[in-house]
């Protein structure tokens, strides 16, 4: 049980860290990648909380397709926040 708590804390801190980095950084490409990392960690949390359905969806849509769409949009506009 104690391992479960430790893993949960590490993941929660990772999600929060990635989310704050995604907001604060001026480089939009690394911001998109940080958002992808956040949703990947969230999908692992779903798996630990015994919701594998949601975990599969979150991993493929949140970390895969959404990030690709962001990257395409950044390629169309510009990489740096002004």
């Amino acid at each position: 049980m104690i391992e479960f708590t430790i893993i949960s804390w590490i993941m929660a801190l990772l999600v929060i860290g990635a989310a704050i980095y995604a907001i604060e950084t001026k480089d939009l490409l690394s911001s998109a990648i940080a958002a992808g990392v956040a949703s990947l960690v969230v999908s692992i949390m779903f798996l630990i909380l015994q919701a594998p359905d949601v975990a599969i969806t979150e991993a493929s849509i949140g970390a895969g397709l959404t990030m690709a769409i962001f990257v395409y949009a950044i390629g169309k506009t510009g990489r740096w926040e002004k």
Binding site: P52, D53, I56, L65, A68, I69, Y72, A73
Partner: protein, 241 residues
């Protein structure tokens, strides 16, 4: 001033989230104040909705995966609406971003990405198909399976700049899958008593050919979601300048 307002709004939102977090029932708790009533016969059962879903799913729908049974059988009409929302979104993207042919030439991806993506594509597609075909047996279903298939095509688009989806087969697949879903619902109206009601034999729970219309609908949803999401990604790629 704006910062103060932002802090006030954010802390109010956080407080609401905390309050609602404490309202969530404990995990494993199946009681609820809402009682289950059969929508077809109108009879009331002396059990709550969550406990009915837990105890009655296997006998009523033949599906081992209760989540799938709720999404496709008990709440099938919601799923039809969900599929329609996705269809509308894909149509909107296609309408706004049509035909941006050409654009800036992207450099070829490197050798490892090109050959590696060729190698893993069949396995990604197989995993996606497995997820939606076995939706009534294992975790997963039409939406995750379709998303996995679309991410496989996305990988091909990333590694080969010239790779594109042929528009006609994609839209034919999408339309055919959508029509299948609606026609199965109407057949339920014809052979059973209500829209999207199961009319096929339930079979042995746990086997691939079981659970009546659930696998058929989930295969249709899988094809539909996969073709829609990959056509969205393809449209976004085409427009890149």
């Amino acid at each position: 001033m704006r910062k103060v307002a932002a802090i006030v709004i954010a802390s109010a939102f956080f407080a609401i989230l905390l309050i609602s977090f404490y309202q969530i029932p404990q995990s494993g708790y199946s009681g609820s104040e809402y009682y289950y009533s059969n929508p077809i016969t109108g009879s009331h059962a002396n059990e709550s909705v969550p406990s009915h879903y837990i105890s009655g799913t296997k006998n009523e729908t033949g599906a081992v995966n209760a989540v799938t049974a709720i999404v496709v059988e008990y709440r099938g009409f919601d799923t039809l609406g969900e599929v329609t929302v996705l269809f509308t979104a894909a149509t909107g993207v296609a309408f706004l971003l049509h035909k941006g042919k050409g654009g800036k030439k992207r450099a070829e991806a490197n050798l490892i990405l090109r050959e590696g993506s060729k190698l893993v594509l069949p396995f990604i597609l197989l995993a996606g198909a497995y997820i939606f075909i076995h939706g009534h047996l294992t975790p997963g279903g039409g939406f995750p399976g379709g998303a996995v298939i679309a991410s496989g095509f996305l990988l091909m688009m990333l590694s080969y700049p010239k790779f594109f989806m042929k528009e006609k087969p994609v839209s034919i697949t999408e339309s055919f899958a959508g029509i299948t879903f609606a026609v199965i619902g109407l057949l339920g109206l014809l052979f059973a008593s209500s829209f999207l009601e199961n009319f096929l034999p339930l079979g042995n729970a746990g086997y691939l050919l079981s659970a009546g219309i659930i696998p058929v609908i989930y295969i249709a949803i899988g094809f539909k979601v996969g073709s829609e999401l990959s056509s969205i990604a393809d449209k976004l790629k085409e427009v890149q300048k």
